[in-house]
Assembly symmetry: C2
Homo-oligomer: 337 residues x 2
């Protein structure tokens, strides 16, 4: 079933992979593995860190809580195991998701290890948030089976995944990736033009840059910036995004009226401050201290559970209202039944 | 009761104004008037447009639906009336909120009309999203009673209001404004340093700029950009904002670890594309057509009701979880009881 949101894109059938490997098991890799396991897929995990298995157990526990709370089936889980090597993890699996550190040299070395042991037709998704797939493909022997599949944390709850092909990626590989990601409950967005940082991180970096200036210049604290977001426009973006929100703001005149009314402000001086502050030790200290004051009362695991409980609540609301991310949950529930 | 989120700020007592005028009754002004009416405040509305009364009735109807759905008391409403002039509206009221078009010359003329008739101690809040209060104060006879009180639409639902003083604004005026805004259920964030566009619109403009490039360059459609937001990071920002989200991403190492891990990517080339595309007729046509395809199945009033139902659902979830914007609703409910 094609997503009705992407009318211009050909149909694909959601279908979970028959088996999978997760290479790199930090917060992102463990969340991928958790989503796969909860979707009934057996997963082999490779990570050299002695902490990897503990991270996996903690993240999976959070994921089970969240899916239970959403009322999704968590009873028919796949098995997971820590593999002894990349080769051990990827041998004879249908799908590999790579989530190693964000350095081109590390990515290239790990992709070489994956290719040395995996079946040549095994689909490989990379979690990179910024490196172009064509760059990753440059040193691969079978580059045609690589896509970027860029998720957003918590991967076991947020449905979106940006699917990006490189110069060597045929459209069939894109479709296979969309099918696999949709099969584990996700909403794949095909990024049709290959650019650094894709769609979401372009937007995130723009906000991050501006927020750093506000802290650097002493205009606002981390708490004040976050307050403006979650008492304000964050409640809009969880359900309509930027353009649909502004369409509504334009009133009956639609988007043309909105641009006529507000477009010219883009030429005002306040939008020209676009370089980036240096991460001086002083700026880092300021941010760390403000963040500690803002959020230090909760440890990170506790914050993760709070976050998940909130997102679960939002997803239930959206599913009931048949809107936005609620559609991904509804589709998943329908396939379960 | 001071908000515990703003520990560094002295306490203020929430107290709705005894009466109010709303000058300028477009979507924003009507939503201010609705929030005031639902908070039990009598409101006189001034707007030269023949459509103003109809806009007020439509927006108030949406606001009543939303507050009923939230379970807030909508029975003890204030009265509202369309005034015959600015002078008629503002004479003998305790509080004036100005929401006329975003042009310094229009704002100056309207502020002069307000001052000519209002009591000299009447607090005046301006809804401007970008003009500095010092600029607005330049031509005023009693500039010491002006603040910017910048809200986010829908004003009757989203709690945040940025309170910004100009050079002529004493701290007592800031406190009175915080007290009034909190008294009608809002979460005032004092923007302590006066800059163009304040906090929120800095962040919004950064995203808008980047999104325009993505559409302009044909990288993504308005639908694809919105999808990445509301299937993804929008669900984070409705509850934690930017900094708390990244703190969690940093894991047990906290914000310092996050910056060490991700800060350097700011120096990568993809963050340097920071000028703004021209609003050529072609770009406007592209955005309008994409927005029509994305959202054209619903008219704007319908989209507003969908938006409100979603936000109400989010606010209920957050109130139950005692988190973020849910705290503003909880405080309001407590004062009602």
């Amino acid at each position: 079933m094609a997503d009705p949101d992407s009318a211009a894109e050909p149909a694909f059938q959601p279908e979970a992979p028959s088996s999978a490997a997760v290479v790199g098991c930090g917060v992102i890799g463990a969340a991928w593995a958790s989503r796969l396991v909860l979707s009934g897929v057996d997963v082999a995990i490779s990570d050299p860190s002695p902490d990897a298995a503990a991270i996996m157990r903690e993240v999976l526990a959070n994921a089970v809580l969240a899916w239970d709370d959403l009322g999704l089936d968590t009873s028919s889980r796949g098995e997971w195991r820590m593999a002894t090597s990349v080769a051990d993890a990827v041998t004879n699996v249908a799908f590999v998701q790579e989530s190693v550190p964000e350095r081109p040299d590390i990515k290239a070395a790990v992709l070489a290890e994956i290719e040395a042991a995996a079946n040549p037709t095994t689909l490989i998704g990379s979690s990179t948030s910024g490196i172009k797939p064509t760059t990753l493909q440059a040193t691969m022997t079978h580059p045609e089976r690589l896509v970027v599949g860029h998720p957003y944390n918590p991967v076991y709850l947020l449905p979106v995944v940006e699917v990006v092909g490189g110069e060597a990626t045929p459209i069939e590989t894109i479709r296979r990736a969309q099918s696999i990601y949709a099969g584990i409950g996700m909403h794949p967005v095909h990024v049709r033009v290959e650019i650094d940082a894709f769609i979401g991180d372009r937007l995130l970096e723009a906000v991050w840059r501006e927020a750093l200036w506000l802290v650097n210049d002493g205009v606002a604290t981390t708490q004040e910036i976050d307050d403006v977001m979650f008492y304000g426009f964050g409640l809009r973006w969880a359900q309509m995004g930027l353009f649909e929100t502004y369409r509504v703001a334009g009133g009956a005149g639609g988007f043309r009226h909105f641009i006529e009314q507000f477009g010219p402000t883009l030429e005002w001086p306040w939008t020209k401050l676009m370089d980036t502050p240096d991460f001086t030790p002083e700026l880092v200290d300021t941010i760390v201290a403000q963040s500690d004051e803002q959020s230090g009362a909760h440890d990170v695991r506790e914050l993760e559970r709070i976050r998940d409980r909130n997102v679960v609540g939002f997803l239930k609301v959206l599913e009931q209202n048949r809107w936005a991310a609620g559609k991904a949950i509804a589709a998943q529930r329908e396939r379960e039944s």
